[in-house]
């Protein structure tokens, strides 16, 4: 409401700026000749000053004075000839005046109604953060916590609360930083180390890298019963292609887990999929469908491996025919890494970079991605 009042006042002001001069009396304005004369007068006096200072020779000064005088004479005659009547033009003038006065509100309100968002109030961040937490979205709560931590960066408890929220929001690099801060400020604990490991793995697209493994191992050292750490370390084995060891580890976990543990489901699922660890789970978009996974889990290990190899090979073939698919290349590189075929992974990376050109953004993305998997482009 307030907005419409202010908008109306602004429009009124703008319209008055047009209206008032049009309605005002025609002051007897001076003709341009008067202005010119004023300037010439000044030029003459300046000429005198310059001559006195020797900036112009006396003969030239006299000549210049005559030039200016001639201009003044010309001015007088032009002035007398230039008086014309403006009567007959007054109809046109009135038409233009009316249009101008109407144009201001019409153009402004017409245009604004098309492009404006009059119902959307301003939302300064401080106001949004000050309102009742119960009304806030998760994003806003996180932002509030961030603002608090920006002001008190040594609040370890704050970092610890925020870190798992980041994990759930998939803001993995923020989660890594938050866990590191919590560990730095409040000391080591199995939960924090395991969380850090999960965050590092999340940041690498689900690959349990060496850094992540370090964190999980640290967690296990503090608490041998930490289920998250054990689960992910088994996952790391699976990703390295050491399926049997992974399955043994998971089965050992199942044996110790209480019947109502939330990890039970995760482990069972992982066991079910253990033939196709990463290729299947992270390539959801274009990976094998559920039926294929079912088929894979009921096959013999040899058949399963053959099937995975076939799928990867078909992806490889697809990319040969249709190479401008950055997502596809990354999936292929990761598949080769997970299958333990480093040479082929490197070869795929090389081809991917060649497709997009060595200096391109994609190429940089590929190199960074490969580095996160522990792979370098050049041998």
């Amino acid at each position: 409401m307030l907005f419409w009042v202010i908008a109306a006042i602004l429009t009124l002001g703008a319209s008055l700026a047009v209206l008032l001069p049009l309605a005002g009396g025609s002051r007897g304005a001076s003709s341009s000749g008067d202005h010119d004369l004023e300037v010439y007068r000044d030029q003459l006096s300046e000429l005198d000053r310059d001559a006195a200072r020797g900036l112009i020779q006396p003969a030239e000064a006299a000549e210049a004075r005559a030039e200016i005088a001639r201009r003044i004479l010309r001015l007088d005659s032009a002035d007398q000839a230039g008086k014309t009547s403006a009567r007959q033009a007054s109809v046109t003038a009135r038409l233009i005046a009316t249009m101008a006065v109407l144009a201001v509100p019409l153009v402004s309100w017409g245009l604004y109604s098309q492009i404006g968002s009059p119902d959307l109030p301003s939302q300064p961040l401080s106001e949004r953060l000050a309102k009742n937490p119960a009304d806030s979205s998760v994003d806003e709560l996180v932002a509030r916590a961030e603002a608090h931590l920006a002001a008190n960066p040594s609040d370890g408890r704050g970092w610890e609360v925020l870190a798992p929220v980041y994990l759930r929001m998939q803001r993995f690099s923020d989660a890594v930083a938050a866990y590191r801060n919590a560990i730095r400020l409040d000391g080591d604990s199995a939960v924090r180390q395991a969380g850090l490991g999960e965050a590092v793995a999340g940041a690498a697209g689900g690959v349990v890298s060496a850094d992540a493994q370090d964190a999980f191992e640290a967690a296990l050292k503090l608490d041998p019963a930490n289920m998250k750490a054990r689960f992910y370390l088994a996952m790391a084995l699976a990703q390295e292609g050491r399926n049997k060891e992974a399955i043994t580890a998971w089965q050992a976990m199942l044996g110790t887990l209480p019947p109502d543990s939330p990890w039970r489901g995760a482990v069972e699922q992982a066991l079910a999929k253990s033939g196709t660890p990463e290729v299947a789970s992270s390539a959801a978009a274009k990976g094998p469908d559920a039926a294929e996974i079912d088929a894979a889990s009921s096959m013999s290990p040899q058949d399963r491996e053959a099937m995975i190899n076939t799928m990867v090979a078909s992806l490889d073939e697809k990319l040969r025919q249709n190479p401008r698919d950055a997502e596809g290349w990354m999936r292929l590189v990761r598949s080769y890494v997970v299958l333990g075929k480093a040479d082929q992974a490197r070869d795929a990376l090389g081809r991917a970079i060649a497709v997009f050109g060595a200096g391109s953004d994609e190429a940089k993305k590929f190199t960074a991605f490969a580095a996160s998997l522990g792979l370098t482009a050049t041998e």
Binding site: L22, A93, P124
Partner: protein, 661 residues
């Protein structure tokens, strides 16, 4: 508040349409009332644009991420100062700043234009309104900073870290004050062409506007150059980069315009030159805006795939440049010639100056546009850099710089070169001595150094000679001399200061390029290095946390003769997590007019760091010269000539006969 700003912007656009049409018809129909509309509308338009700008700046200051522009270019953790300067650190906001300055200058003409003939004032405001309308439309149609997001994101994407710097906060407003200041000269020229005549008061108005615009543009370029010097971490002060050229071309043309306007004001000569230069200068300002804002520089192909903005600016460019030049071709012949002069005279010297400067502008234009044209036509990417400009721009500037000190010493209408040369003997002797000293004692191998230093000294002493001669050194008693010196018109000081500043800048450039030294090495904490007689010890690398970045700060101690530290320099590598970008903060220690410059490179695994060191002798003069030029322009602005009153009827009766010989 945000939507009020948006509405004010739309309203300002509507007013700019009125300002375009009504005064123009008023001048045609000679209708006082229609003409009178221009003034109040221009002032109101400025007030509304200012309101709109304040609304946007407020949204930035309050981190209102419901505004898309704020979300894209701000972050809640940024320091307040960079939140606010972020308003013009992006395309949309900077265009809003552009029209804000445009309407500000329009309002100034309206407010102080009472001593202008009514039709001229109306036409000027109409042309100014046209430019405003075109840019308002551009903003509203393609670059609206008030687009909203609903629901609003909770955090922004941060301002480009390179722009989070005070130098860059001041640079664009200065540059725009310069660019847009020339729009007034342009409007005056087009108004004169529309009327088909040039009033005597025309030049009185154009010169101060040119001065103001030129002063700000000089400051903007100097600031931009200093920013590039310390922020980009390469220690270079001028790269012949298209973005720099885009601001340099209007400066060159504007310098010619400035000199031409002086002749026109004093002697009513060079009318055609002045008109054409005013049109060209503003055209080059528009071209600069186009080059920087359309994205055509980053990639011709990116421009071709998303051409909305670029094509729009191209249309504006065609409309204003093409339209004004066509008008010029139609009407220029109707303008009466002004005062006469001999080839050897102050006027003649200034014509020569104009020729040199416009040719130099043309070479820079070719060097800037040729690579773009080539890429568009053939797809080949080439870069035209320093070698091209050294070969073309350099030789053009050399004779001009040699001739600069003669100009102010030549008399109007008919000058005497021999007399002027005699007066410059002392300056010439000093310049020669400087060349000899440079060649014999400092650096015998470099002809460039000797010539450059000599030329710089020639410019500086030449400018001082001008002041000395005009206050009568050597010919009158000291007391008279002091009185004369104090009584000199401010514009004489302005000329001398501007030419002096040019000499200082040249001195700084030549000294830095010829005598500067550089070292790149790997250092560990505790190691020392010597560079051009200065010993530096690397104290170590310390991590630190900024409001929205983390940094590794390398500290260096400057070791004095006694072996104890006499000063500290620190350079840092900053990491901005939101944009995942790293920037280098160079460490600079100013010693007199020279500087030690340190920039950190990559960190080795064993705690060593790559360090780049430069010794830059007299480098501060490069920008000091720019400041001196600005001071000259400010001095000239205070000249009494600029205070011509409005005519009053009674005075006219009394004075007119007295003015006749």
């Amino acid at each position: 508040m945000v939507e009020i700003g948006h509405f004010a912007l739309v309203l300002a656009f509507a007013l700019s349409l009125v300002q375009t049409i009504v005064p123009l018809f008023g001048a045609r129909l000679n209708n006082q009332r229609l003409m009178a509309v221009g003034g109040p509308v221009a002032v109101t338009g400025f007030a509304l644009t200012a309101l709109s700008f304040v609304a946007l700046a407020g949204a930035y200051a309050n981190s209102d991420f419901s505004v898309a522009n704020v979300w894209e270019n701000s972050h809640s953790l940024q320091p307040l100062i960079y939140k606010i300067t972020g308003t013009w650190g992006n395309h949309e906001g900077s265009m809003l700043l552009w029209v804000l300055i445009l309407t500000f200058f329009g309002a100034l003409v309206a407010a102080f234009g009472s001593n202008l003939p009514a039709t001229l004032r109306a036409n000027v405001l109409a042309v100014q309104g046209t430019i405003g309308a075109a840019f308002f439309l551009f903003i509203l149609a393609t670059s609206n900073p008030f687009i909203r997001l609903n629901p609003a994101p909770i955090e922004g994407r941060d301002l480009n870290p390179v722009l989070q710097d005070l130098g860059l906060a001041i640079h664009p407003p200065l540059l725009y004050l310069g660019y847009v200041g020339f729009s007034i000269c342009f409007s005056f020229s087009v108004a004169a062409l529309i009327e088909g005549r040039i009033d005597a008061s025309w030049a009185r108005w154009v010169r101060p506007w040119t001065l103001v615009a030129w002063m700000f543009l000089t400051g903007g370029i100097a600031m931009g150059s200093y920013w590039a010097y310390y922020e980009l971490g390469w220690g270079g002060f001028w790269f012949w980069d298209p973005v720099e050229n885009a601001s340099f071309m209007p400066w060159l043309a504007g310098t010619a315009l400035l000199h031409s306007a002086i002749v026109m004001e004093k002697r009513s000569a060079l009318k055609i030159w002045t008109l054409l230069l005013a049109i060209l200068t503003f055209s080059l300002s528009l071209l600069g805006t186009f080059l920087v804002r359309s994205g055509v520089l980053t990639s011709v192909h990116a421009f071709a795939t998303d051409p909305t903005r670029g094509v729009f600016i191209l249309c504006i460019l065609t409309l204003f440049i093409g339209g004004s030049l066509a008008l010029f071709a139609l009407r220029a012949s109707r303008l009466t010639a002004g005062g006469l002069f001999h080839p050897i005279s102050r006027e003649g010297a200034l014509v020569l100056n104009n020729l040199f400067l416009t040719t130099a502008t043309a070479t820079v234009l070719v060097g800037t546009l040729y690579p773009l044209a080539l890429e568009a036509l053939t797809g080949d990417k080439i870069s035209v850099g320093a070698p091209f400009f050294d070969l073309t721009f350099g030789p053009l500037m050399l004779p001009l710089l040699v001739l600069v000190p003669f100009g102010p010493l030549l008399a109007w209408k008919r000058g005497d070169v021999i007399a002027a040369s005699q007066r410059l003997m002392a300056a010439f002797a000093l310049a020669l001595a400087a060349m000899l000293v440079t060649g014999l004692f400092i650096d015998g191998a470099s002809v460039f150094a000797a010539l450059g230093i000599g030329l710089a000294v020639w410019l500086v002493t030449g400018a001082l000679t001008d002041l000395a001669i005009k206050s009568g050194v050597g010919s009158v008693a000291p007391a008279v001399m002091v009185r004369r010196f104090a009584g000199l018109p401010r514009s004489v000081f302005g000329t001398a200061l501007a030419h002096l500043g040019l000499g200082l800048t040249l001195l700084g450039i030549v000294a830095t390029l010829s005598f500067g030294t550089e070292k790149i090495l790997t250092m560990r904490a505790g190691e020392t290095v010597e560079l051009s007689g200065h010993t530096l010890r690397f104290v170590g690398l310390y991590p630190a946390q900024g409001p929205n970045y983390s940094e590794d700060r390398g500290r260096f101690d400057l070791i004095g003769v006694s072996g104890s530290p006499v000063g500290e320099i620190s350079s840092a590598k900053r990491f901005y997590p939101v944009r995942q970008m790293t920037t280098t903060e160079s460490g600079i220690k100013t010693l007199g007019l020279s500087q030690l410059y340190i920039s950190l490179g990559d960190e080795g695994k064993d705690g060593s760091v790559v360090v780049r060191l430069w010794w830059k002798p007299l480098v501060a003069l490069i920008w000091g010269g720019g400041l001196t030029m600005m001071a000259g322009a400010a001095m000239s602005l205070m000249d009494r000539r600029l205070r011509v009153g409005a005519p009053s009827r009674r005075r006219k009766q009394a004075v007119a006969p007295a003015g006749l010989p």
